[in-house]
């Protein structure tokens, strides 16, 4: 096939969008839009990297901070949430061998998150609303710096994302519990108990012969437990959004509500409690579940120590509710007992729970050697390495002594946050995408293995390198969330910029590879109306 023919029809013309089921199309839409938002984040990141070195005249300082505000939110909600939700809305029914509870709810889930992300991104871009994702009170309601109208539209966008997230939560739990038409009545309560881990917990108190069998598989249990954190997080962010909106609407109507009506420290505690349910909750739980799924699908073997893995997921869920105070170790009014217990001690459990998931995944892979170094395996190993680097970095900064000299430096955002997200999380997601690609496309073939290899190495080196150079700058005193005008940290920022460039090259190689695999017609076909509206996950003949 000629290049143009492959570009239009895909590798060997194997991908036929019209053969996709409604569920496959919807999943692919989630993934494609999630990847487009990832490109947004990459470009934003590169703009900020350049700006850290040289303040570009066409971008104002206010615009820079608006980009800095949108960047993590688009990354988390627009990219990661969409890809993860698309994958899980497919995988839960796939693993439970029953249809998704509601396609309509899943469609609205997709529309609300896609539109909500675009709305808050655009509102920030135009109005320069820039309180950052932390929204430390009373900054989001500081109308000397920000427009209340721009802010209200921004918050509205976030609220839509949260409503979309709640639709996802409902759909996942209903899918686990409901009885499909024509099926024998399903034990909804017992399925829920198995998914959340209460059944497994009570098994610990029973003799072996009286222990109950797990009704849902381990990956479904991980998805359910991570989804609990997503629900709690959506509640907290919605509540906070409504609070901020009250101040904004009052300002638009010409009334000045006193900012001191909200206690800044109490606000910081509840907001971080909710926000941390993403970073230290659902991300870690979803990632562990995805590692287990990938390891078992790659090897075709049972998971090593699977009962302990299941118990660790429950422990991780409980830990995620009690670790928020490590974000307040530099807040002098925060009670010392919370700093030590929640901030240090409970947070240290994450080293154990994530270390356990790391070991179990590696042991499962090891037990099946020799394995072929497929794309999904190499990206899975990259993802494991990412968390092996980033989690200990997080544990170190969650220390009363070390936090005093690390908090808000580039060290936090580099070796911990960016390495966790770019290497740990994103490489795990790429592993899942490479693994699910043939299942979701009914056997489409990847266009180029060389491009997949280029994607792997540029992403791995770029991500770790960027985190490392940001970390070095942080240890030299460079703060995050500010600007330097005299070239104090230019060397590190230029090196981080080069690594960011590698990440961009890697993504473009991946995106081009996927487009060439399914063809431009195929991409358009994914977004064309669905002809087959039944609830099959894959075509019946498959």
């Amino acid at each position: 096939m000629s290049f143009i023919s492959t570009l239009m029809k895909g590798e060997q013309g194997l991908f036929k969008a019209e053969s996709l089921t409604a569920m496959q199309k919807l999943t692919l839409r989630f993934v494609v839009v999630g990847l487009v938002y990832y490109l947004f984040v990459l470009v934003e990141g590169m703009i900020m990297r350049v700006y850290e070195v040289e303040q570009i005249p066409m971008i104002s300082k206010e615009q820079f901070f608006a980009i800095l505000t949108a960047h993590p939110l688009v990354g988390i909600f627009g990219s990661t949430y969409l890809i993860v939700m698309g994958a899980f809305l497919f995988l839960v029914p796939y693993l439970m061998k029953k249809p998704l509870y509601s396609m309509k709810l899943a469609h609205w889930n997709f529309i609300l998150i896609t539109a909500g992300t675009f709305i808050f991104w655009l509102a920030g871009f135009i109005s320069h609303y820039a309180p950052l994702y932390t929204l430390y009170w009373p900054l989001p309601a500081d109308f000397n710096q920000f427009s209340p109208v721009g802010g209200a539209i921004f918050i509205l966008g976030i609220a839509l994302v949260m409503v979309g997230s709640i639709f996802f939560v409902i759909n996942i739990f209903k899918t686990i519990m409901y009885t499909p038409e024509g099926w024998e009545k399903q034990p909804a309560g017992k399925l829920l108990g198995s998914a959340l881990g209460t059944a497994g917990f009570f098994n610990l108190l029973k003799k072996k012969e009286k222990q109950k069998e797990h009704l849902v598989s381990l990956p479904v249990a991980a998805i359910a437990r991570g989804t609990v954190d997503m629900a709690l997080n959506a509640g907290i962010i919605l509540f906070t959004g409504v609070l901020i909106l009250v101040f904004m609407v009052a300002a638009i109507l010409g009334k000045d509500l006193s900012n001191t009506a909200v206690d800044a420290l109490l606000y910081k505690n509840w907001f971080w409690w909710g926000l941390d349910l993403i970073a230290d909750g659902l991300v870690l739980i979803f990632v562990a579940g995805t590692w287990y799924l990938l390891a078992t699908m790659i090897t075709g073997k049972k998971l090593f120590m699977q009962n302990i893995a299941r118990a660790a997921l429950l422990l991780e869920l409980v830990v995620s509710w009690t670790v928020w105070s490590h974000h307040l170790l530099s807040d002098q009014a925060q009670p010392g007992i919370l700093k030590v217990l929640s901030g240090e001690m409970v947070t240290a459990f994450e080293l154990i729970t994530q270390g356990l998931a790391f070991f179990i995944t590696l042991a499962t892979l090891w037990a099946a050697r020799p394995l072929k170094m497929t794309n999904e395996l190499k990206f899975l190993l990259g993802g494991l390495l990412g968390f092996a680097l980033a989690v200990p970095a997080g544990i170190m900064q969650a220390d009363v002594g070390l936090n005093r000299i690390l908090h808000n430096t580039q060290w936090i955002i580099g070796p911990h946050v960016h390495v966790a997200i770019l290497i740990g999380l994103t490489m795990t997601l790429y592993a899942a995408i490479y693994l699910l690609f043939p299942i979701l496309t009914n056997g489409a073939k990847l266009y180029s293995q060389k491009l997949a290899n280029l994607h792997f190495w540029t992403h791995l080196i770029g991500g770790i390198g960027m985190g490392a150079f940001m970390g070095m700058a942080g240890l030299k005193g460079m703060l995050r969330r500010t600007l330097y005008f005299d070239g104090e940290f230019d060397l590190y920022m230029i090196l981080a910029l080069v690594c960011g460039g590698l990440l961009l090259i890697g993504f473009l190689a991946f995106f081009f590879n996927i487009v060439m695999s399914v063809g431009v017609n195929g991409v358009i076909g994914i977004f064309s109306p669905v002809k087959n509206k039944n609830k099959d996950l894959v075509p019946a003949s498959e």
Partner: protein, 187 residues
């Protein structure tokens, strides 16, 4: 008291060594998992690993509490009397100092008591080479106090370490903290 620069150096060495080791381990694993060979993983290895992580997680904080002097001083600061105290206000993205320069001596326990009258800010002290000595958050409506003992004479810069909107970028007061050698007589 150990200087924070030394603690940072120690942390840098420890973390760098760890990253090199874990990357080598993963490279070794990636190579070996594609080759035939013994594949059984003994549960004892798993439980040893879990025990090691538990020990590491708990001991890290115990070690730092006992070796990083400001950790204990910080948690027990209400029982310690400072040799010198500075009350600093922050409003409209500006630090308002009690005097043009904050002068102190090496070895004194100095209290910085910072009050925000509007937004959440940060309060950090930096060396002339830009490296950070320490920082804390400055939350409105609450007391934000910290005790510190400087070990090296010199001029230090105050900078807000928390984002407070684009205007916060300019919250830098260069060389306003002056630490004199011990016994210089700053009264």
């Amino acid at each position: 008291m150990v200087d924070s620069a030394l603690v940072l150096k120690g942390q840098t060495i420890a973390y760098t060594c760890y990253t090199v080791v874990i990357m080598l381990v993963m490279a070794w694993f990636a190579l070996r998992v594609t080759r035939p060979g013994k594949s059984k993983v003994k549960p004892a290895l798993f439980f040893t690993f879990v025990g090691f992580l538990t020990l590491l997680g708990v001991s890290l904080h115990i070690i730092t509490y006992n070796t990083i002097p400001w950790a204990e001083m910080d948690l027990n600061r209400h029982e310690i009397t400072a040799d010198r105290s500075f009350a600093i206000d922050v409003a409209n993205h500006e630090f308002i100092l009690p005097s043009d320069k904050l002068i102190m001596e090496v070895g004194e326990i100095v209290e910085f008591d910072v009050t925000s009258h509007d937004l959440t800010y940060g309060f950090g002290i930096f060396r002339e080479d830009q490296s950070m000595v320490f920082q804390m958050q400055v939350v409105p409506g609450h007391r934000n106090d910290i005790l510190w003992k400087f070990l090296t004479p010199g001029n230090y810069t105050i900078r807000s370490t928390e984002y407070s909107g684009p205007k916060g970028v300019a919250m830098v007061l260069e060389n306003v903290v002056v630490v004199l050698p011990s016994g210089s007589g700053t009264e």
